[in-house]
């Protein structure tokens, strides 16, 4: 696994924010809300809603990316939302909205799982009620060998890659998305491998969160 670095409270104007680095992949997430939702016709009267916006910065990849929303970012915004949603007590704030903005500052594979980790930490530091952490990592198969945390090149030449998000305390999977060719046994093995790596990431994130707030105390 690549080196993980986490920084909290990088966007001071936001209710909560986090910067997560998985090697050369850097994701910045900022959370605003819960706030009043406009336009009013989007409001849900039984529950609050979560809106995610994933965007790849023009300078984040080798060849300049056209800035703005495209088909890929629409898909990834949804992927992040469905991976995070099961963990939030959205029913506690009906008619309101929680806005999440994720910006990939540097892309070197596994951007969506890095984004999920950053979003999770930003939500927690914004004081949003959560059932559990959502920890994500990518797993895959290269040269018939099962691997964890794929970088850009590995991602491009892999036989299979799977994005995996997981609630460690509740032992529930919130995202399992991927492509490639795998046998049933390989999938089973990859799930247990992903769970193990998620536990490691969880320990790092936990350490950063409690470390930051304990430092505030002393």
């Amino acid at each position: 696994m690549r080196k993980i670095e986490v920084e909290l409270g990088v966007v001071t104007r936001a209710n909560g924010s986090a910067l997560v680095k998985f090697g050369d992949t850097v994701a910045l997430a900022a959370v605003y809300g819960p706030a009043e939702l406009h336009p009013a016709h989007l409001r849900e009267y039984q529950t609050g809603i979560l809106r995610c916006r994933y965007s790849l910065a023009p300078f984040s990849v080798e060849e300049r990316k056209v800035p703005g929303f495209d088909r890929r970012s629409v898909e990834l915004s949804k992927v992040i939302r469905v991976a995070i949603e099961p963990a939030i007590f959205l029913e506690e704030f009906p008619k309101a909205v929680v806005d999440v903005f994720v910006e990939i500052l540097q892309a070197d594979g596994s951007t969506r799982v890095t984004a999920i980790n950053a979003t999770n930490l930003a939500l927690i530091s914004a004081g949003i009620p959560m059932r559990d952490f959502v920890v994500a990592c990518s797993v895959g198969k290269i040269d018939n060998c099962l691997v964890v945390d794929l970088n850009g090149i590995e991602d491009n030449f892999s036989q299979a890659d799977i994005n995996f998000a997981f609630m460690p305390n509740r032992n529930k999977i919130t995202l399992f998305q991927g492509d490639g060719q795998l046998t049933k046994n390989e999938i089973k093995e990859l799930i247990s491998l992903a769970k193990k790596s998620c536990e490691k990431i969880y320990e790092v994130e936990k350490g950063v969160l409690s470390g930051k707030y304990s430092r505030q105390i002393s």
Binding site: N15, G16, G33, P34, A35, E36, Y45, A87, F89, E92, F93, P94, K95, A96, I124, S125, A126, G127, I128, P129, M130, R131, D132, F133, M167, P168, N169, R170, K206, L209, S210, Y213, S214, Q216, I217, S218
Partner: protein, 219 residues
């Protein structure tokens, strides 16, 4: 200095053992789990987690500071520093009979006015109503408003008002804390009070903070 324990979402705090579930916790299979990044408060009959951040969600009975946002046909809409706008009906805002057809409601409260009011009703779909019909409710004239995290307001007030009494006495200012995180300050030493309030907000989890503040203001 001793500090309280910090917990993270999803963490199993303890077994329930018939205790009451307080704020910021939920139950799964007889175990109590936390919802927030916060400070744990555990006693024999209740388990509470006080969040370190978050917005204000109104509850009936809260004493809040509101800012009039709009004058409407039958009352006023009030910004209470929350995702939900509150409504102050004429009947709850004014003692006398008001003929809506003849009287301009901005005579009583106009846009931008600051009020100290009580949350009198919150429906399931979060329609919030506030009232001015209590002894302590009033219109606040002049002064400065400071915003802090709503979860830190009880700390600012202190046990039985001990903390806020010290600040009021030592600085000679008027302070009204709203449970929604808005604090109204009026007097000569406003900047000193703001300094103290931000210190309390930053170090709210320290045990023995009241004495520290007392010493700081005593100098």
């Amino acid at each position: 200095m001793e500090a309280r324990k910090i917990v993270l979402p999803g963490e199993v705090v303890c077994e329930r053992k018939g205790r009451k579930l307080g704020r910021g916790v939920y139950e799964v299979e007889e175990k109590i789990l936390t919802k927030f990044l916060g400070v744990l408060k555990e006693s024999e009959d209740e388990v509470d987690v006080i969040p370190l951040a978050g917005v204000y969600l109104p509850k009936i009975g809260d004493k809040v500071i509101g800012i009039i946002k709009g004058v409407e046909v039958s009352g006023w809409s009030v910004d209470i520093n929350s995702p939900y706008t509150a409504f102050l009906p004429i009947g709850e805002g004014v003692e006398e009979y008001v003929d809506v057809g003849r009287v301009d409601l901005s005579r009583f409260y106009d846009v931008g006015d600051v009020i100290f009011c009580r949350v009198s009703n919150v429906t399931k779909s979060k329609m919030v109503q506030v009232s001015m019909k209590y002894l302590y409710t009033k219109k606040l004239l002049g002064g400065t408003i400071v915003k802090i995290f709503p979860s830190k307001v009880p700390r600012l007030i202190g046990k039985g008002g001990s903390m806020i009494d010290i600040i009021k006495k030592k600085t000679g200012t008027q302070i009204i804390p709203g449970e929604n995180g808005l604090v109204w300050i009026k007097g000569e030493n406003v900047s000193k009070v703001i300094e103290v309030i931000s210190l309390i907000e930053r170090e709210s989890h320290i045990i023995g903070l009241t004495e520290k503040i007392g010493k700081m203001l005593g100098e």
